[in-house]
Subunit: 337 residues, 2 copies
DNA sequence: CTGGCCTTCTGGAGCGCTCCAAGGTGCCCG
DNA sequence: CGGGCACCTTGGAGCGCTCCAGAAGGCCAG
C-alpha cells in the first residue's frame, strides 16, 4: 500500500522511533540524522497517516462545523471565516449541513465524533443548542455559533435585541411610528429577540399609542416569503392601517417585501420604509439598495474558530460568550414619510 | 478515555470480534446476540472510532473538496450539491479553500491525503489540474470539477465554448454585431473558451467585417473590475467604436459593467446589451435583471460527488467526462439596439 | 582511567479496531 | 448413537503510528 514510517526508517537507516521523533520532536534528533530522515521522506513522498497518528496518541488536527446550509450566503461567509483560521493553524475543516433538522444535527454530531475531530462548531437548529452537552461530555471542545451560550461554554453570537433597537430607532427618528416586523418562528430566538428589541425601543420612545408592533410570521427566510408577507400586510389594511416602517428579519425577506409592495403601487421608501437584516452583499445590488443591520459574519466565524482552538490547546482556557454588536447601514430603502 | 469496543463486549458478555461483527457483518451474528450487543452499545453510547476502523482495514467514509473559496456563491452552490450526496451516502465532507493559489492547493491535497480520505474532488487553480495525478498514484479516487479532464479520469465541467456561442447567437439575433468580451486571464481556460465560442459564432454568422471581438482583460471576477472594464471600453471610443453587445465572463463583472455604463449615461439595454455568465441568484435581483448563461452548479456538485463515490465503490467503474450544456436565460439587459 | 552524566537512538508495548483461521455447539441423518 | 455439517463465536495478528524505558556512545571531571 502506501509508504509507511517503516519504509522511511529503512531508507534513512534509522529506527521507526527516530522517524517519529523528527515528525513530533525534531529538536531531540541530531541535525545530520534529521536531514537524512527528511530526505528519505521526500524521496519516498511520505505522508504520515493521520488516523494512525491519532491512534498512537496524537490529537487529531481536524475540527467540524455543523450549520444549516452551505449554500446560504450568511452561513457560507461564516464558513469562510472558520476555514481561514483552520487553514492558518493547519487544521482541516469538516462540515455538515442540517437543513435546520434536529435529527440531521444529531447525526452530524455523531459522524464528527466518530471522526475524532478535536473540536466542533455548532450553529444549532432552532431547538438543538443542548446537543453540545453530549459532545463536551466526550471531552471534545465545542463552541456555539450564532446562538447565545451559557457560562460553562464558549459562544459567539450577535446581539439581536440591539439590532432590533437600532433599526427601530432609525425608523422612529425618520418619523415612522406605525411599525411592523416580518420574521419566522423557525429561526426561533433570533427573530423574537429582534422583535423584542423593536418593542422595547418603541416603548422607550414614548411615542407608542397602541401596544403592538404588527408582527407577520413567515415560514422561511426567502424572497418568496417576503412577497407573501407584503400581500398579508396589504390585505390587512381593512382592519389595521398599513405600517410605514417595516423591519424584516432577513435581507431576502426585505427584497421580497419591497418587491411585493412596489408591484402593488406602494412606493419604497416614499410610502413605506423597509429595513433588512444581515447586510448580505445583495442589499447593495438590488434596485433600491436596502438599509440593513450588518452582522459581522466572517468575523464571527473567525472568532468562533479561534475560541475553539484555544479551548483545544490551552490548559487555562476560560469560557467566553462573545456578543457582537450589529451595525445599522443606512441605504435607500428608508426615508422620511 | 472514550468507551471502546472492548467495553461494549464486556457489557454484552461477548468477545471483541462479535461486537465488530455486529458493526460490519450483522447478518452473521445470531439475532439474540446482536440485540444484546446493540443494547450494550446504546447504554454506553458507543461511537466507534473511525480512525481505528480505518487502520483495521476499513475504507474511510470521508471525501475532500478543494475549491477556491467557500464564500463565493458559485462554489458554495457546488459545495451544497456535493454535501447533499455525501450526507445521503453517509460520507463526511472535508473542505479546503485554495484562494486560487497553487501552493495552497498542493498543501490542501496533502492534508486530505494525510486524513486518508477515500476520494477527492478538485476545482483546480488556473494551472493546477495536474496535481490530481499524484493523488491517483496513491490509490485515492479523484474527480476534476469545473475543469475538462482527460480520458483516464472523471471530470464534470460545463461546455464554455457553447456558452459563448449561445450568448453570441442571442446578441447577433438581436442585431448586435459589434461585440466585446470581458474576462480575466486568471480563470484561464474557462474564459478563453467562452471568448472562442464568441468568435466562432461570429465567424459562422458571416456578419463579421473585421476579425476581432474586442476583448477586455480584467484581473478578477468582481463588480469593481466590471466597472473598471466599462471605463476602459468607454475611453477606447476614440479608436474603436463602443461595442453594442458585451459578454461578461461572470455575473459580477456584468453587474459592474452595467453600473459603469449607466453612470456614464450609456443605457442598458437600449444603447448596449450586456450578457452575464453563471446566472447566480443576483442576476434577477439587480435593477436591470441580467441576461445570463446559466450553469447548473448544484447539479455539477452532485454529479461529481456521485462519480467519485462510484469510482470509490465500483470495481467496474469507467471514467466519464461529463460536460453540462449551459443555458441562456434572457432577461432585461439585452434588447434590440 | 573510571564513573557518572548527557545526548541520541532503539525497539517493544499499546492505541481501537478489522479480519480470519480455528474452535465450539447443536442438530440432522444415516 | 456417532459423524458430518451448519452456524456462531472467539481470540490472535496486524494496521501505522506514538510514547517511553532503556541501551549505546561520547565526554568530562575526579
Amino acid at each position: 500500500m502506501a509508504v509507511t514510517i517503516e519504509d522511511v526508517a529503512r531508507r534513512a537507516g534509522v529506527s521507526r522511533g527516530t522517524v517519529s521523533n523528527v515528525l513530533n520532536r525534531p529538536e531531540v534528533v541530531l541535525e545530520a540524522t534529521r536531514t537524512r530522515v527528511l530526505e528519505a521522506m521526500h524521496e519516498l513522498d511520505f505522508i504520515a497517516s493521520q488516523p494512525a497518528r491519532m491512534l498512537g496518541g496524537l490529537r487529531s488536527r481536524s475540527i467540524g462545523l455543523v450549520m444549516h446550509d452551505v449554500g446560504h450566503p450568511f452561513f457560507a461567509e461564516i464558513a469562510r471565516g472558520v476555514e481561514d483560521v483552520a487553514t492558518r493553524e493547519n487544521y482541516v475543516l469538516t462540515l455538515t449541513s442540517t437543513r435546520d433538522d434536529d435529527e440531521r444535527q444529531r447525526a452530524s454530531l455523531r459522524l464528527l465524533l466518530a471522526q475524532q475531530v478535536s473540536g466542533i462548531l455548532l450553529i444549532p437548529t432552532a431547538s438543538g443548542a443542548d446537543d453540545l452537552r453530549q459532545v463536551r461530555e466526550r471531552g471534545v471542545a465545542a463552541v456555539l455559533l450564532d446562538h447565545e451560550g451559557g457560562a460553562n461554554e464558549c459562544s459567539v453570537a450577535v446581539d439581536d435585541v440591539r439590532g432590533g433597537i437600532a433599526a427601530t430607532q432609525h425608523l422612529l427618528s425618520l418619523g415612522h411610528h406605525r411599525l411592523a416586523f416580518v420574521g419566522g418562528p423557525r429561526r426561533g430566538q433570533r427573530h423574537s429577540d429582534r422583535l423584542n428589541g423593536m418593542r422595547s425601543a418603541l416603548a422607550a420612545s414614548g411615542k407608542q399609542r397602541r401596544p403592538a408592533v404588527q408582527a407577520v410570521t413567515v415560514p422561511a427566510d426567502t424572497i418568496a416569503c417576503g412577497e407573501e408577507a407584503a400581500r398579508t400586510l396589504l390585505s390587512n389594511r381593512a382592519t389595521r392601517r398599513l405600517p410605514t416602517g417595516i423591519l424584516c428579519g432577513n435581507d431576502l425577506l426585505a427584497v421580497g417585501m419591497i418587491r411585493g409592495l412596489t408591484s402593488s403601487g406602494v412606493s419604497v421608501p416614499d410610502d413605506v420604509a423597509v429595513v433588512g437584516y444581515d447586510d448580505i452583499e445583495l442589499t447593495t445590488l438590488v434596485g433600491t439598495p436596502i438599509t440593513s443591520i450588518r452582522q459581522p459574519m466572517y468575523e464571527m466565524g473567525r472568532t468562533a474558530a479561534e475560541l475553539l482552538l484555544s479551548e483545544i490547546h490551552e490548559e487555562t482556557h476560560t469560557h467566553r460568550n462573545v456578543r457582537f454588536v450589529p451595525e445599522l447601514i443606512v441605504r435607500e430603502s428608508t426615508a422620511r414619510p
